[in-house]
C-alpha cells in the first residue's frame, strides 16, 4: 500500500509503509511528528509525518513500562498513565506556547528533541527514561535497539543516540519508556525577592538536601520556587525541614493545593512568561552556579532559570548572536525561537569542536548515506 498524502504531507500508516517511503524518496525529507517543535535550521524537503504511527503497544503498570507508537500524542500517553497513577518521569515540555505552533505534540517529536522539564534535575532527561526504540534509517532499513525491560546493556545503546537526534539518524516508529508512580502529594516552596546569585545559592542548598527536591526554578521578580513530591506525610515533613534549611534566604511560603502546584510547574516547564512576547528565545545549559553569569553576559530582555540555575531561558532582541556574548563559558546554547531567516543565519544548535563534529557527521553518513533525513537541521 502506498503512503497516504494529506495536504502534501506524507503520512505512512505503518512501519513498513514508512520504510518504503524512505527507500523510495528521491530528495530531502522534512521529518515531523506534530510539528510543534520548529527548532534548528529550516529544512527544505518533502514533509513526512509519523502522526499515523500511533497507539499503545504495551502498558504494564506493575512493571512500570510503556511502549507506544511514535505518532501517539503525548497528551494521550499522559492521560493513560494518570489513570494508573503513573507518569513520564522527565516532565516533557510543551513547546507550543513558546514557539507559537498549534499542532499536537507526539511522542516521536518529544524523543527526537529529548524534551525534558523541571524534574530533569531529579529524574533525568527524556533519554534517561527511554528503554527501547524502533526506527527506519536513511536507507529504509528497520532497526530496533533496547526493548521493553528497564535494565539492558546488550550491545551498543542506540536508544540514547536516537534521543535528541532530531530525526537526522532515523525516523522513530516506536519508543519504550520506564515510568514512575505519580506521587500522592506535592508542594511548592517560594522565596521572594532574591537576586539571581542568591537565588542560585538557595536552590543549591535545597538540591543538596536529602529531601529529593524535584524542581528548582528562579523567575526574577516572581520568586524562587522549589518543589517537593511524595506521600502526604512525607511532603509535609520535608516542607517543614526545607523551610528551616532555607531560613538564611528568608521565610519560604508553602503552597500545597494540588492544582496550584501543578499549574506553577507547568508554567515554569513551558516558559509561560515568554509566550506571546517579541524577540528570540535561547536555551542555555551550564553548570548551575554559572547561571547568573550567563544572564550578566547576555544582557537579555528577560531571563528564567530552571534546573537550579543550570538551564537559563533568555529572551533576546531579534537576530542577536548570543554565543558571541557568552564567550568561552563551558556549556551550550540553543536557539529555540527565531525567524527562519535568523535560524538559517545563526547556527541554532551549538557548533561543535572539529573532531566531535567529524564523528557526528560520520555517524550521519553511516545512518543516512544519501543525506535525506532532515538534512542540515542540526549541523550544516
Amino acid at each position: 500500500m502506498t503512503p497516504t498524502r494529506k495536504d502534501t504531507v506524507m503520512q505512512p500508516t505503518s512501519e513498513a509503509d514508512l520504510a518504503e517511503a524512505i527507500r523510495g524518496a528521491n530528495g530531502a525529507l522534512a521529518i515531523r511528528g506534530g510539528g510543534t517543535r520548529p527548532l534548528g535550521r529550516p529544512v527544505a524537503g518533502e514533509a513526512l509525518s509519523t502522526a499515523a504511527l500511533s497507539g499503545v503497544r504495551l502498558y504494564e503498570p506493575g512493571a512500570l513500562t510503556l511502549v507506544v507508537g511514535a505518532g501517539t500524542p503525548v497528551a494521550e500517553v499522559e492521560a493513560l498513565l494518570a489513570s494508573e497513577n503513573q507518569r513520564l518521569p522527565f516532565e516533557p515540555m510543551d513547546h507550543r506556547g513558546l514557539t507559537g505552533t498549534d499542532g499536537i505534540p507526539t511522542v516521536g517529536g518529544m524523543v527526537a528533541a529529548n524534551a525534558s522539564g523541571p524534574r530533569r534535575v531529579q529524574a533525568g532527561a527524556c533519554r534517561d527514561s527511554m528503554i527501547g526504540v524502533r526506527f527506519v534509517d536513511g536507507t529504509g532499513a528497520v532497526v530496533k535497539n533496547g526493548g521493553r525491560v528497564m535494565k539492558n546493556v546488550t550491545g551498543y545503546d542506540l536508544v540514547k543516540l536516537l534521543a535528541g537526534s532530531w530525526g537526522t539518524l532515523g525516523v522513530l516508529t516506536e519508543v519504550g519508556f520506564k515510568l514512575l508512580p505519580a506521587p500522592a502529594a506535592a508542594a511548592t516552596l517560594r522565596l521572594a525577592d532574591l537576586d539571581d546569585a542568591t537565588a542560585v545559592r538557595a536552590m543549591a542548598s535545597a538540591l543538596t538536601s536529602p529531601f529529593e527536591v524535584s524542581g528548582a526554578a528562579h523567575l526574577p521578580g516572581a520568586g524562587t520556587f522549589l518543589r517537593l513530591e511524595g506521600l502526604e506525610a512525607q511532603v509535609a515533613y520535608r516542607a517543614g525541614r526545607l523551610v528551616d534549611r532555607l531560613a538564611p534566604f528568608g521565610r519560604a511560603e508553602v503552597e500545597r493545593a494540588p492544582a496550584a502546584v501543578a499549574a506553577r510547574w507547568a508554567a515554569i516547564r513551558d516558559v509561560a512568561t515568554f509566550h506571546g512576547t517579541p524577540g528570540d528565545v535561547w536555551r542555555v545549559s551550564v553548570k548551575p552556579s554559572d547561571g547568573p553569569l550567563v544572564a550578566a553576559r547576555a544582557q537579555a530582555d528577560a531571563v528564567q532559570y530552571d534546573w537550579g540555575g543550570g538551564l537559563v531561558w533568555l529572551r533576546m532582541p531579534e537576530g542577536t548572536d548570543l554565543r558571541a556574548r557568552l564567550g568561552d563559558l563551558p556549556g551550550h546554547a540553543t536557539l529555540v525561537r527565531a525567524t527562519a531567516e535568523t535560524r538559517a543565519r545563526l547556527a541554532p544548535f551549538p557548533p561543535e569542536p572539529a573532531p566531535v563534529a567529524a564523528l557526528a557527521s560520520a555517524l550521519r553518513a553511516k545512518f543516512d548515506p544519501r543525506g535525506i533525513l532532515n538534512p542540515g537541521l542540526m549541523a550544516p
Binding site: P61, G62, A63, L64, T65, N114, S116, R120, G124, A125, D128, V143, K144, N145, R148, V149, M150, K151, V153, T154, G155, Y156, D157, L158, K160, L161, A163, G164, S165, T168, L180, P181, A184, R201, A204, L207, T208, P210, G230, L231, A233, Y237, S285, V286, K287, G310, L311, G331, H332, P350, E352, P353, V356, A360, A362, L363, A365, K366, F367, M378
Partner: protein
C-alpha cells in the same frame, strides 16, 4: 570460545613494537615480560585466558593518546582494561594485542558539592568515588557488587548497574561528561558539569560500548546527597507467583523502593546454611528497602507490609534498627559467597519483563532438570534483572560445557519472553555468539556502523560484542 587468529604481521614485529611503546612511555609503564603479562591474561571470567603481547599502564590522557596513536599507525589491536573485574570477558586479551590499563590513573580532579558533581580519572574504583564525598554527605549512586574493586572506566564501558538502580538508574544516567581518546589518538571532551548533549548524544552511545569506541580517561559524575536513612522489610511466600504479584502491587501503589531483591528456595537454603541470617525456608523471599527519615520509612513500610499481608506471607519481618537491617541483608549479600562455598557456579545476567517471572522460573527449573544441573535464582525484582546461578563441578570433565549450554538456553529464554541477554554485566565474549538470538542482521549492522565511525580499522577491543562471523568482513578490511 573462538577468538580470531593472532595477526602474524603484528607478532613478527613484537620487539620493534615494544621498543616503540617504550620510546613514548616511561620505562615502568610498559610490560612485556612473559611472566608479568600473564597477570593480565584474563578478567573475572576466568574460564578464558590469553596472555597479551604487551601491557601499558599510562599515567595521563596524553600518554594514553600517544599509545593509541602509535598502535593505530602500526595496526596493533588494543584491549582497554579498568580493574579487570568483568564477568563477561570484556577485558580478555588477544595474543597480538596491547592491554591498555588505566589502573594508575586514580586521581580526583575536581569536587563541586554545590553543583553536585565530581570529576575523576577513570582508574579510580567505584567505591572510592563515594569515599571522596562521603564525609560531606554525598554518594555516587551506581553500586555494582564488585564496587570495592571495579574501576569507573569499566563501569562506563559496561554501563554498570547495581542493586539500587530502580531508583537511581545505572551508569549512563549518572555520567555527565567524559574525556575520551579515540583509536587514532584524538582526544575529545563530551558533556561536562552541565546537563544534556548539545548535538548527538555521543556520550550516551560511548557508555556501554564495551571499550570499542574509545578509551575514557576522565569522567564527570553526578553525586547525590545521602538519604536520611534506609530500612528493609523481609517477606517470605510459598510461591514465586505470589511474590511476583506482591512486587507488582507495591509498585502500582505508588511506592518506589530503592531495592527489591528476590531469592528462590535453593538460594535461600544455601544462604541460610552459610550466613545463618534467620531466613524462612520457603519458595520465594523478598527484601524490599525504602529510604527517608525514620517517620517517612515507617509510613512507607506500613504501606508495603499492608500489601504483603494481602498475599498471605509465610514470613514478614520489618526492620526496626540498624542491627535488624544488617541481619536481613546478611544472607542476600553473602549469596554469591555461599554458592561458591558449595559449588562452582556460572552467574547469568539476563533481564525479563517482571510479569514473566513465575513462568520463567518454572522453565529454568525444567531446563536445569534436562541438563541434570541445579540453578539458584537471585533477582533484582524491581527491574527484572535476573542472576540465575548455575551450579556445577568444574573438576568433572564436560560439566563446564554443560553448564554453559544451560546458560545459553536460559538467556535465549529471557529473549523469548521479551527480555535481553544482559542487564548489567555486558556482552563481552561471554554472550557474543548469542547476539543473533536477540538482534536481527539490520540491528547489528546499525550498531557496527557506530563502531565504523569511531574506529574505522576495528582495532579497539577486538572480538567482543559482535559474533565473529558477523564482523568478519570489517575486521579483515
Amino acid at each position: 570460545m573462538e577468538m580470531p587468529i593472532a595477526d602474524v604481521r603484528v607478532l613478527n614485529r613484537r620487539e620493534r613494537l615494544v621498543a616503540g611503546l617504550r620510546a613514548i612511555l616511561p620505562g615502568d609503564a610498559v610490560i612485556d615480560d612473559v611472566a608479568e603479562t600473564r597477570a593480565y591474561e584474563c578478567d573475572a571470567l576466568t574460564a578464558y585466558r590469553c596472555p597479551p603481547m604487551a601491557v601499558v599502564l599510562p599515567r595521563s590522557t596524553s600518554e594514553v593518546a600517544a599509545v593509541l596513536r602509535f598502535c593505530h599507525d602500526e595496526g596493533v589491536p588494543v584491549v582497554p582494561r579498568g580493574a579487570g573485574t568483568s564477568l563477561a570477558g570484556g577485558a580478555l586479551p588477544t595474543a597480538d594485542c596491547v592491554i591498555l590499563g588505566v589502573a594508575r590513573m586514580t586521581e580526583v580532579l575536581e569536587t563541586d558539592l554545590d553543583n553536585r558533581f565530581i570529576r575523576v580519572e577513570t582508574g579510580r574504583t567505584n567505591l572510592s568515588v563515594t569515599g571522596a564525598v562521603e564525609e560531606d554527605g554525598f554518594f555516587y549512586a551506581p553500586d555494582p557488587s564488585s564496587q570495592l574493586a571495579c574501576a569507573i572506566a569499566g563501569n562506563i564501558a559496561m554501563n554498570s548497574g547495581g542493586a539500587h538502580c530502580l531508583k537511581y538508574g545505572v551508569t549512563t544516567n549518572n555520567l555527565l561528561g567524559a574525556t575520551v581518546v579515540l583509536m587514532d589518538g584524538t582526544v575529545i571532551t563530551l558533556g561536562g558539569a552541565h546537563l544534556d548533549a548539545p548535538g548527538l548524544d555521543l556520550l550516551g552511545v560511548i557508555c556501554g560500548s564495551e571499550g570499542q569506541l574509545g578509551v575514557v580517561t576522565e569522567a564527570t559524575l553526578r553525586i547525590l546527597p545521602k538519604p536520611e536513612g534506609a530500612r528493609p522489610v523481609l517477606m517470605g511466600f510459598d510461591s514465586s507467583e505470589v511474590a511476583g504479584e506482591c512486587v507488582g502491587d507495591i509498585i502500582r501503589a505508588g511506592i518506589l523502593p530503592v531495592a527489591i531483591e528476590f531469592m528462590d528456595r535453593p538460594c535461600i537454603r544455601a544462604c541460610e546454611a552459610f550466613a545463618h541470617a534467620g531466613y524462612p525456608d520457603c519458595e520465594a523471599l523478598l527484601i524490599v528497602e525504602v529510604e527517608g527519615s525514620d517517620a517517612e520509612i515507617d509510613a512507607q513500610l506500613e504501606a508495603i507490609t499492608a500489601i504483603a499481608r494481602r498475599h498471605n506471607p509465610v514470613a514478614l519481618r520489618e526492620s526496626g534498627s540498624a542491627e535488624e537491617s544488617a541481619a536481613i541483608w546478611k544472607g542476600r549479600k553473602s549469596a554469591f559467597g555461599a554458592m561458591g562455598q558449595i559449588n562452582d557456579y556460572i552467574c547469568l545476567d539476563g533481564t525479563i519483563p517482571i510479569g514473566e517471572l513465575p513462568g520463567v522460573l518454572r522453565r529454568i527449573g525444567d531446563l536445569a532438570r534436562g541438563y541434570g544441573l541445579e540453578v539458584a535464582n537471585v533477582f533484582h525484582a524491581g527491574d527484572g534483572n535476573m542472576h540465575p546461578l548455575i551450579l556445577f563441578n568444574a573438576n568433572q570433565p564436560g560439566e563446564l560445557e554443560k553448564a554453559e549450554d544451560l546458560g545459553a538456553d536460559i538467556l535465549r529464554l529471557c529473549v523469548e519472553v521479551g527480555g535481553c541477554l544482559s542487564g548489567e554485566h555486558g556482552v563481552g565474549v561471554e554472550k557474543r555468539d548469542l547476539m543473533t538470538d536477540q538482534y536481527a542482521a539490520e540491528d547489528l549492522e546499525a550498531q557496527m556502523r557506530v563502531k565504523d565511525a569511531f574506529d574505522p580499522k576495528w582495532l579497539l577491543n577486538p572480538a567482543k560484542v559482535f559474533p565473529l562471523a558477523v564482523s568478519a568482513s570489517r575486521r579483515a578490511a
